[in-house]
């Protein structure tokens, strides 16, 4: 359907000619525009891979619909591979600045690029003459070529769509991030010109390719025909609907289709083994499990029923023996994400063990993700399970709930890191940290403690709390380390804290409500906060202000504990002048259970607030004090001041004090100082000192032997 006017009236000749002329002009001018579709985007692309020259040749159409009320004068397209074109791209410049951890290093002759060779409207109007590279983000970089702005012949009216016909060719960067090739193995992502997201009243949201940022795009329907040499096994987003072998050219063309996704990636390698399985909900979820989770969510088991999903695994031959581990992890992820947040809505999921040395592991695309493994694994270490659960989980947080990863990366990475830990805990329990040397697992030799993902996450994210807030444009973080620790782990720790603070039930409903409400949408943190407030019926603005919008650390501690015997007599002059002090007005923090002739111990516990962040209004942190006779005393502190002191008088000594004994405030950057036992365990400290000593002796002995 298009927007041309249909005349029904029979006009007189002159009128008819004029009208005809006007009509032709209109048609001529506006024939590139059509009536908007119900989705902002539709792609129909054909691409051929030329492995020998590591090039792709492509052509096709992109239909963009203006679903806003604005007149849109231009189209802005991401040409991501130009980030790998030279040393002056924004990404390369940002990479050079990194000192702690090099994510990307330019390598001679490994360059890649994306070049549009032709871009016209459907009726042949050439758009290339007005095309220009822009760099919307600060600081401007005139050398960056990852965003192309193309002016339209005239502004596209609300409700109109434009069909872009294009041809492009691209060189696969050998050393790219999330994309790459090695010999004849290819992982191809961010490979086509992709329009940004048009935001009503604000214009295009189309950022450059940054080192510390992922992506943002609109939901679209894709149809992609991929032609490769016959020996390559191909996987892609969506469903394979056709395969045509051409015996003459020795090439095969695969057609993939998928609706309602916002990116499209594919891969090809001769070393893939393709294995298919079904996730059968009936076998994976018991009626009791449905019942339990339905009760938690206050839904009926019927409402949370999961559909079956076709699972496709493309695994390198060398890792074939690990297929079962891959499927087991994927099924756990489909099950728990589905039960907790909502059923997986697509028919297939493709899990890719990325081609060797393509630098594309551990990355998410809608209906397809890459994991990554090693040939020799350890049973006690959850690798590759951790990455499989995480990357599948992105179908929920990024794929379906499609927040802007440039601007608020925590909404996908933080929520998904939180969810990953929960799934791993439910499906596997704690696991050991890996110890590897020269590609060999060494956990059989050096024991590591069994821990949960979230325990490690809260530990490593503490040090960056004061460096950056969690909510910040991805490229504005202090460095890659601060970006990843804040956005992934600190955000996840904050969510863990919220869950414990609000309770399991309330939290489960919050997460499901947020997910289902914003499926196929682009929510922001404001939407998330709104859902938290609505479902929990609590105003948690302070929480987000302290932990998400500000770079503050949170550390409450037991600063000091003192115990002494109360003197039987006090020295000084005591006369019997009357006082107005009645026994009831004794400070309510003092506790006396005094019996005549008994020794009385005075115990004072001083709590400190070392961090800058504070608890919000009407929120307290609890202190539990246990005495030698087993009696317990509980106190609560609003945590506003820098310190507070609680005094106790008892006929027995204190045994131990624990701050936040219910372990709600996991966001506390130092939990070790939340415990204070009058008699600490000598054993642990002695064992530890013994270990340190042994390590140092061994080191010195090695030096001795070498000299």
């Amino acid at each position: 359907m298009d927007g041309r006017i249909v005349l029904k009236k029979k006009p007189d000749t002159l009128k008819a000619v004029l009208l005809m002329f006007w009509f032709i002009c209109l048609v001529f001018l506006k024939s590139w525009a059509g009536q908007a579709e119900d989705k902002p985007l539709r792609y129909d692309l054909e691409v051929e891979l030329l492995p020998e020259v590591r090039m792709i040749q492509a052509r096709g159409t992109i239909v963009w619909s203006n679903l806003s009320q604005d007149y849109v004068p231009d189209i802005q397209l991401h040409l991501y591979w130009n980030a790998f074109k030279n040393e002056l791209s924004t990404m390369a410049k940002e990479a050079r600045r990194e000192t702690m951890y090099k994510r990307y290093q330019v390598r001679k002759d490994d360059w890649g690029y994306l070049k549009i060779t032709s871009l016209t409207t459907v009726d042949g109007y050439d758009l290339m003459p007005t095309a220009a590279f822009i760099s919307p983000d600060e600081p401007p970089n005139p050398d960056d070529q990852t965003v192309l702005k193309v002016d339209l012949p005239e502004p596209l009216a609300p409700g109109q769509s434009i069909i872009l016909k294009l041809q492009f060719q691209a060189k696969v960067p050998q050393n790219g991030i999330r994309v790459g090739c090695y010999k004849d193995g290819f992982f191809i992502s961010q490979w086509f010109p992709k329009p940004g997201v048009y935001e009503e009243g604000k214009g295009w949201n189309c950022h450059q390719y940054h080192l510390n940022s992922e992506f943002f795009a609109d939901f679209a329907d894709f149809k992609v025909r991929i032609t490769v040499p016959q020996n390559l096994v191909v996987g892609a987003c969506g469903e394979e609907i056709e395969r045509i072998d051409d015996p003459v050219t020795g090439k095969t063309t695969y057609t993939f289709e998928q609706q309602d996704i916002h990116d499209f990636a594919w891969t090809a390698s001769p070393r893939f083994i393709k294995i298919e399985r079904w996730f059968r909900a009936e076998d994976q979820v018991s009626p009791e499990e449905y019942q339990t989770i339905a009760e938690l969510l206050e839904l009926t088991p019927e409402e949370i029923k999961l559909p079956d999903v076709r699972m496709i695994l493309l695994i390198e031959k060398q890792h074939q023996h690990q297929a079962e581990r891959h499927f087991k992890a994927l099924m756990a992820a489909i099950k728990y994400y589905g039960l907790w947040y909502g059923p997986y809505p697509y028919r297939t999921i493709t899990m890719v063990d990325p081609p060797f040395r393509t630098g594309s592991g551990g990355m998410e695309y809608p209906t397809l993700f890459t994991a990554g493994t090693s040939v020799i694994l350890d049973k006690k270490v959850l690798s590759p399970e951790q990455v499989i659960v995480h990357e599948f989980g992105h179908n929920y947080w990024y794929g379906l709930v499609a927040n802007n990863e440039f601007e608020e990366a925590w909404l996908d990475e933080g929520i998904n890191t939180y969810s990953t830990a929960k799934v791993l805990e439910a499906a596997y329990g704690p696991s050991c940290l890996p110890v590897r040397f020269n590609g060999l697992p060494l956990n059989w030799l050096l024991k590591t403690p069994a821990i949960y993902d979230w325990q490690l996450g809260r530990l490593i994210s503490g040090p960056v709390a004061k460096l950056d807030p969690i909510v910040k444009e991805s490229w504005k973080f202090y460095n890659s380390v601060s970006y990843s620790l804040n956005v992934y782990y600190r955000a996840a720790t904050c969510l863990q804290t919220l869950e414990r603070y609000l309770g399991e039930k309330s939290w489960a409903k919050i997460m499901r409500t947020y997910h289902m409400r914003y499926r196929f949408k682009h929510p922001t943190i404001e939407d998330f906060i709104q859902v938290v407030k609505e479902v929990s019926a609590k105003d948690l603005n302070w929480f987000f202000k302290e932990f998400f919008f500000k770079a503050k650390d949170f550390d409450y501690a037991i600063g000091a504990v003192e115990t002494r015997i109360k003197p039987e007599k006090f020295l000084g002059i005591f006369d019997d002048l009357p006082t107005k002090h009645s026994p009831q007005t004794k400070t309510n923090q003092d506790e006396t259970t005094e019996k005549a002739g008994e020794k009385i111990y005075q115990t004072s516990v001083t709590l400190r607030r070392y961090g800058q962040a504070r608890l919000g209004p009407e929120v307290t942190i609890k202190l539990k004090v246990e005495f030698e006779d087993g009696s317990l005393e509980w106190r609560e502190w609003d945590g506003q001041s820098r310190w507070v002191r609680f005094n106790f008088e008892k006929p027995v000594k204190m045994r131990q004090a624990v701050l936040d004994p219910e372990a709600i405030w996991l966001v506390d950057t130092n939990l070790s100082n939340n415990y204070y036992a009058l008699k600490g365990s000598r054993e642990k400290i002695s064992g530890l000192t013994g270990d340190f000593l042994w390590l140092m002796q061994s080191l010195l002995l090695s030096v001795f032997n070498l000299l």
Binding site: G439, G462, Y675, L707
Partner: protein, 288 residues
């Protein structure tokens, strides 16, 4: 003389002089204690008030990491302190090596701290010089290693699976150890000659190289065989150590004792090496 004879002679020599290992252990332990004091007191002051019975929100090991993370600012000065300790101990160790070789190769097996230290000072300068002269050999060692490792690297660079990468990395490690053993043999031999034949350093090197040019492969083979046995015992030791739980006092005590016994074993193994090398050298040197 058969392999067994060399081993037996070396073992007898090492065991009859086990006091040397004790002295070395003591001195190394004192240095190690000094080196860990800052980190130990940090951990004690931060974690000394935890108890085993508490239901901590993390395993204890993570509490240690947490304390280290929140006291990151001590790392830079502590590293400087450690480097200083290692540098000073290097000089001390050359001195101790004098004591070790001196007492090991002495005719009578009367060993006390004073003659041990006397040997240390007697051979200090010669041993230091022997180490300095060894540096060019170390350079040759690295050159040779790079050369021999190059085909392995090329193999791994062109790999299409992980296997060549893993195999070549571990072969390189093996190559490194084998080569280093060969060069280390030279230094040991030089010192044996210095001590037993009262030679100056240069003549000792000449003599050692001459000896090795004749007997290198069997001498190297002996060294490697011995090394393999010691390495296997070490591995077994570590595996046994892993099985001991550190959740109660007895387990912790056993772990500590085992760890210290392991160090004693390593020191005795070092003595055994010297003993075996000496018996091999003294039997074969006349055949040069």
């Amino acid at each position: 003389m058969s392999l067994g004879n060399y081993l037996e002679a070396g073992l007898n020599r090492a065991l009859s002089r086990f006091k040397i290992a004790l002295y070395l252990w003591l001195i190394i332990s004192v240095v190690a204690l000094i080196a860990i004091t800052p980190i130990g007191s940090l951990v004690r002051s931060n974690l000394g008030h935890l108890t085993l019975s508490q239901d901590l929100s993390m395993p204890f090991e993570l509490n240690i990491v947490e304390v280290l993370i929140s006291n990151q600012n001590i790392f830079a000065p502590y590293t400087v302190f450690l480097i200083a300790i290692v540098l000073i101990s290097m000089l001390l160790f050359i001195f101790l090596k004098g004591g070790l070789f001196g007492r090991m190769l002495n005719q009578d097996n009367r060993i006390n701290i004073s003659n041990f230290l006397a040997d240390g000072s007697r051979y200090f300068w010669k041993f230091l010089l022997s180490l300095i002269i060894f540096l060019p050999f170390l350079f040759i060692f690295f050159l040779l290693f790079r050369l021999l490792a190059a085909p392995l690297e090329a193999w791994s660079d062109g790999a299409v699976t992980e296997w060549p990468v893993i195999i070549s990395a571990n072969l390189k490690l093996l190559l490194f150890v084998l080569l280093l053993a060969a060069f280390k043999l030279l230094l040991d031999l030089v010192r044996i000659i210095i001590v037993t034949e009262s030679k100056k350093v240069w003549p000792a090197y000449c003599l050692a190289i001459k000896f090795l040019s004749r007997h290198f492969f069997s001498f190297w083979g002996l060294y490697l065989l011995l090394g393999l046995v010691v390495a296997l015992i070490c591995l077994g030791w570590l595996l046994v150590g892993q099985q001991i739980s550190s959740n109660h006092l007895a387990g912790i005590l056993i772990s500590i004792i085992l760890a210290q016994a392991f160090l004693m074993f390593r020191l005795l193994a070092r003595q055994l090496f010297i003993g075996v090398e000496f018996s091999y050298y003294s039997k074969r040197k006349d055949k040069v």
